[in-house]
Symmetry: C2
């Protein structure tokens, strides 16, 4: 069990579970931390969700997700302020930000990246006042057009470093960053900016739906053991959150998926 | 016509055409340059292919492709020497190298990248002796596991710069590199190392087969006009090769595809 003490289940890995089922599933399996998503939290009710998780003794390793700054501006900022409030209520270690892709019809990446920087400048004081840590998530370049124009950890750090480390950190996800030849150097640079470490594998052939392309730990090409050792060496000692978007994983029984994740963590990552 | 004088048709864009059909199609449409692939050249016969292209007055903007250095070593080097011989016979401006992905079962990216460097060191003298220019192609990170472990232009240049610029250059493809926040700086750095410029668009949703995911010019998210202006500003004045791997494009009539490419070049890139 001890090797798994840092294991956090991102609830999206078992998409069929309600919040209550996820909390019960974690408790039954001895999982000590959970990564929450806003939609199931809303379905349960925010205050009730906070109480449910607290009463279960679970750490909330992250709330997913804010961001999407590159579309309508005022609405995005309002929604992100609500997300910050929710992260505060839930006691989440961070609010993960998926920054958004190119606006419809735009081919201007630098402008979209600049818009993201403006949004963080707007939101950082609001987050700081509520002791919520924002976590900029560099996304795999496969999503640069439609999900996240921050494509590298270097990019995310260039932006994060304009703000205090306790207010703006980074989320480092193996699936998004494993290919990056600069990864090792940038993880060291990140140091105490690392607000979240997420794990999923890169599998080939890539599944047909790019949004559900993440692989079960050990099924793919990423040196996940080395990835965790790297973030450890940068001083990160927080939760290791397993987040897998994959149609086959989503179709499987939740308890079975959770058992598989634990087994794979022990065999391929932590053991 | 004049705006199209740098247009080269990579023959893979019209996959159904034989070499002769591609040469005839280019001649009929007034296209002055062609990017060749080894397989259709072999089908036609190397010497006959060289004569066919020469007699048609076509420049050969590239031969695709060598590389795949990360599997069996001796066979890969032998095959690449043959590819260099073919590029020399065809008078190709460069031999494009797709360096290969992770070896089967390996999760060691640094070791695979090191293997690529060793291969280039082996091949560079052989290429130089035949006045063939090798073009290292950084591949989109979506292909890091299974096609090319060189993921960024910076990576490719770090390797290319160990050798004379006339022997080892880089191929800069819009589809592979457009997302890179360091692209502008690295294209300037590349300067006369740019041996090939290739064009395809990035479309969303990404087609189900990642290997056929490239979009027709203008259908996607890339600022292709800005991309060409960037390579121009670095001093590149060679051919602009359109290379589109896409099931719908491949299913269409060849002459129609060629007409569409010319139209899109004028509307979205050069005009």
């Amino acid at each position: 069990m001890n090797a798994l003490r840092r294991f956090s289940l991102n609830q999206k890995t078992i998409d069929r579970w309600t919040l209550r089922q996820a909390v019960d599933g974690c408790a039954a399996a001895g999982v000590e931390a959970i990564g929450l998503w806003r939609e199931p939290v809303h379905d349960h009710g925010l205050r009730a969700a906070a109480k449910l998780v607290r009463d279960a003794g679970l750490r909330v390793s992250s709330l997913c997700r804010g961001g999407f700054f590159t579309g309508e501006w005022a609405g995005a900022l309002d929604d992100n302020r609500r997300a910050i409030d929710e992260a505060a209520e839930l006691g989440a270690a961070c609010l993960v930000l998926v920054v958004g892709g190119l606006p419809p019809g735009s081919r201007d990446l630098p402008s979209a990246r600049s818009r993201v920087a403006d949004a963080i400048a707007e939101l950082a004081p609001y987050a700081a006042a509520r002791s919520v840590r924002l976590a900029l998530e560099p996304m795999h370049p496969i999503y640069a057009a439609d999900r996240g124009v921050l494509s590298t950890l270097a990019d995310a750090l260039d932006l994060a470093e304009r703000f205090p480390a306790q207010t703006v950190g980074v989320a480092v996800d193996s699936f998004h960053t494993w290919w990056d030849p600069a990864l090792a150097a940038q993880v060291v640079r990140a140091g105490d900016r690392i607000a979240s470490v997420q794990l999923a594998d890169w599998i080939t052939p890539l599944p047909p739906d790019a949004l559900l392309a993440r692989g079960m730990l050990g099924d793919g090409h990423i040196d996940l053991r080395g990835f965790v050792a790297l973030t450890d060496s940068a001083g990160y000692d927080g939760d290791l959150e397993v987040e897998i978007f994959n149609a086959d994983v989503w179709a499987a029984d939740g308890d079975t998926v959770l058992a598989t994740v634990r087994d794979r963590l022990l065999r391929h990552v932590l053991g």
